[in-house]
């Protein structure tokens, strides 16, 4: 309680992030891995939405993610706007072993781009990477992403229904960050959140919260400017990386 009330006074910036995607693609598991670095094979399905928070340090900035983990079943779809309104970031999750889940993800992206906050940063995450990777015992050299789909990859690779290239191409076209992840092994999870943190227009959020909460103050304003500069620098520094990444 005290924390929530004082949240905006400390240095951290609150970022509202929403997770969307088909049922049972592992949205909750992705969050759980990020928030408490755990994995539960049997997560209770989310009713409505679950709410979690996690801080994320990026250079000198601390972002406090407020994560809304939504229910995936189709009929909960109409409730989703309640959760993604005002969101500054979204992670749309699909299951790389299920082609239909990417279709659903695409429709989420479409919806977000049209209905949500216009500056929303969207990341596409293909989860359950562990299912298509050769088990640790059988392979000493994990296939690099580039060669994985082309090489037959053995039995486990055949589970994959969404080629990495296809999803990557789509993400680039739609202007999304793209990752393949495994909530089970933890691969790629933290990266989603740090990359989002880099891409988020923090100065917007600061301005908005200052304006919204009605907290005037020269000191705050000055600090904001300084942060703007820092962030801009950061974004510039990341440009080449972003360009190749998404």
């Amino acid at each position: 309680m005290a924390d929530a009330a004082s949240g905006s006074t400390d240095k951290s910036v609150q970022v509202k992030l929403v997770l969307l995607g088909e049922a049972a693609v592992g949205k909750s598991s992705v969050v759980l891995r990020f928030v408490s670095d755990e994995f539960q094979p049997n997560k209770e399905p989310t009713i409505g939405a679950a709410f979690l928070t996690q801080k994320c340090r990026l250079e000198d900035r601390v972002l406090r993610y407020e994560i809304w983990d939504t229910a995936g079943q189709e009929r909960f779809h109409s409730l989703a706007p309640m959760y993604y309104r005002n969101a500054q970031a979204a992670v749309v999750v699909y299951d790389i072993t299920k082609a239909s889940s990417l279709e659903k993800a695409k429709s989420w992206v479409k919806e977000l781009q049209r209905q949500a906050n216009p500056n929303i940063v969207i990341a596409l995450a293909g989860n359950k990477l562990d299912l298509v990777q050769p088990s640790a015992s059988s392979s000493g050299t994990p296939p690099t992403p580039g060669e994985a789909p082309s090489s037959s990859g053995g039995e486990s690779e055949s589970l994959r229904q969404v080629p990495r290239e296809e999803a990557q191409a789509y993400a680039t076209e739609a202007g999304l960050l793209f990752f393949e992840t495994s909530a089970k092994t933890g691969e790629g999870i933290v990266e989603i959140f740090t990359e989002i943190a880099k891409k988020i227009p923090i100065e917007h959020i600061l301005a908005a919260t200052r304006g919204g909460a009605g907290r005037p103050g020269a000191a705050g304003g000055r600090a904001g400017n300084a942060q703007d500069a820092a962030v801009n620098l950061e974004e510039n520094a990341n440009k080449p990386k972003d360009a190749c990444n998404c």
Partner: protein, 969 residues
Amino acid sequence: MSTISTALRNFKEPTKEQITQNFFSLPSIPVVIGKDAAGIDEEVEKMDINAVLSLGVEGEEDSYAGKLYLMAPYLAFSSLDKKSVRFTIPLSTVRRVERLNARAGIYALSLALWHGGKIIVQLTSLRPTADLFCALLRDALKIELQRGRMKTVKGFVKTCYSEVLISGSAPTPSDEKDEISATEASESSYLGGLGLRFKFPGDPKKLREVSKIKLWTTYLKTHGRNLTLLRYPQCTRLVQVGLPNRLRGEMWETLSGSLFLRYSNPGLYEQLLEQNAGRTTTSTEDIEKDLHRSLPEYAGYQSEEGIGALRRVLQAYSFKNPELGYCQAMNILAAAILIYMSEEQAFWLLEVLCDRLLPGYYAPSMHGTLLDQRVFESLVQRCLPIIHDHFQVVDVQLSVASLPWFLSLFINSMPMIFAFRIVDCFFCMGPKVLFQVGLAILKINGEKLLQIQDDGGFLNLMRDYFASLGDSAHPHSTDPRARAITRFQELLLVSFREFSVITDDLILSERKRFRNEIIHSIETFSKRSAVRNLRSLGRFTKEQAGLIYDALYQAMCVIPPPPAQLPPPALIHEGLEEKPETRIQLRTFQYFLSEIATWARDEKIVSNGFQQRVDRDVAEHEFIDRLFFFWDTSCCGALSFQDLVSGLDGVMFNDLMENIEWFFNLHDKNKDGFLTKDEVLTVSESFLFIFRFEVGDAYLGAVSRFMTNAFEYGDALLDDVDHKEILEGDEPGTPLPLPSNQPYLNLATFRMVVLADEILESFFETDLSASFRLDPVAELELPTSSSGLLGEFWSTIATDNNKKMFNMFTDEIGKTIGKHQVIHRPSIGRYKNLEEPKARESLLTPGMRHSTSKSSLRSSPSSSSLRPSSPSQSLTVEVPSSTNLKGPVSAVGFSPMVQAANAALLARPAFTIDDSKDDEDDDDDDTEVADNDDQVMDEVDAFLEAHDSGLTDADKEVAKDLLNAEPVK
């Protein structure tokens, strides 16, 4: 891509009779098994009568005035205040009915019930009414006897734990060792849940199980049980302190009425599972995903036994109600109730939950959930305005927290032992409990809620509060008894005492108030996502696609498509197209097209001296069927929204040449680039169909010129081919008849023929595209879901039938006074009078005119028969724009009434945080008295409210007398 449901449109407000049935927890539709032939005509009329109920044991309970209902095969009673006393009893448990010999003028019956209990009802209506009631009761009992239902009682009650409890073979209440007694008890045949094997949640000592069982045993002995339970105030109070674990399942069944479903449908559950064994549907797949995610921390769901039970119950329900299927949150409910009841019991309870107690909560659109959230918000606004205003200011949405409360009955919000106590009250007192508890939660946390700044803070606060429900509500009080009150007890007290204004009636009227708003927003939402999910918009804007959607939606309301079929276990599994997509059949398409294209409807402007109206019918013609299959690119005999959009895109934006080509392709069945001779005839038939209501002979002339020219050109071209063929052929000298599939006319020739005629040219240049109009056609309104006072009133007056009758009536009068007149509205209406445009100079050289085809002659008589035969021919048709019926206008007059009703609603006492200070003192008063067994009763007393029996002392005297009265011989 998506499914479009019109189900919400069909919602009807419950009738008075249905409300009564719901109140008494009766199955909404009498389920007849194996329809015995005599069953239907033997239905006994329903009747209610004023009565005074007394329990056949002196001194045990007061007498209550109320109403006795005969709703065969049930008998039900409710006291006047609708909450103190009530019962619902299957007639088959009535063993003996006697007319009592009492004071003059008093008409009383004594009913002996299966459990040996006796109730006395004094019928206080007029004598003839009472006589009629008795006669009906006798008939109804006779039918039950004939059906052999009386004999089924004995076997059925054996499945109820209460019987074991009463007979004393149950584990003695003093025996604290549950485990041992559990194995003992399982030998008898009563049904129980997983809790018997895997333990019930909570500490039995803390829950004071023993005392509770003792109290219930006493109550059930004197007031009947399971099928014959009489609910006196004591019953409600005992429920409010929490049901004992072993009895909980059965009491849930009894209180919710699911017991009656199980009683009247023996074996149905097993049957459902058997018939559908091995079937997989979207629902079963969804269920499978969630089985291991339902109360996973409970031991029972870590075993195959628990998982299996959960799977079967959820699957059985999805088979029984495929339209609803399975919705996440149902798994949590099912898992929770399976702890306390057997699979069959849980199945029926789930049915009652989804069907009656939480209507529409789990439906594919979840409209019930959204509606009740809206209702809850409005109640918060009314009862806790300060909190509501604060939420508005900081833009916090109530539903982010409250939606899961309602959807899972608090089970995954609170610690289970507390949630189950709310569920107890919910089954006993109805859905209003959810609203009462919800309001109480907000009120208790009022101070802190005013501090929160965002959704996150709200959720955290609620989470902390729920985690502390077991703590003392007054930890710093000097009074040890006050300190003993937990926050949960405080919550229930606030819920039922301060929010007793929240009644079932209020909830019903609030739902009514907001239903249309919710339906509208759901429809808007699904429209938006349907448009968004189109693979291609073509050249349409989103708004235009929305209009196409509207037309499609309207068509589906009128002619619903068959339920979306799951693709059969496909041999070629696409993987992508898993979800069933809404597709419409030809019939619906015809209606859809009649909304869009002027020539696809028959519009008659009828004037009869009283009114002028437009009668509209859907046209049927091969041309429309042709279009249907032309647009059905996936060849599945049904069109999706996308097909319609693409199809319309293919014609609405065309220029002259494109239109001609489109029309050509439409008629070129085998797509070889040639029309056959038959197809040329079909083309002209299509023309005639489209032009059927045009004024004057211009269009007829154009069509016949088209045919003449087409056949001349065709033959001319064919001659070349023929000559070749004849040279090679075997039958020289007999060029006719041509095989019907012989390519005859190619696009270039077709184009030339069409362009030879001014009328056809203008038709293809502008008129064809313009005949498709997306703007909704006025006047024909949707079957609106009746809303509020106005809607209800309107729906009773202005049903379609009434309107038709009114129209017919005025037509008849119009005919007799000679003012009846019918004018067909033309589809194109370019030429408004008879002046015939001149045919163009023929393109054909005189030399080519020699061979007028025989077939062109053949068609001319048929075309003349299509000539509009109405007297309208001589008239200039002014298309009337204001043809709306007068009906809706008169409805405006009701709005003052609506306003008055709203004002009355708002005038109810508002409960705000501020004016409830004095209640806390009450809490303290309630918590006096001693320890041990009585402690439970303390809590019971805390809920004690004045129960008005509705009787004067004299009445009570009479009622008392009856206890000792002798039966009439």
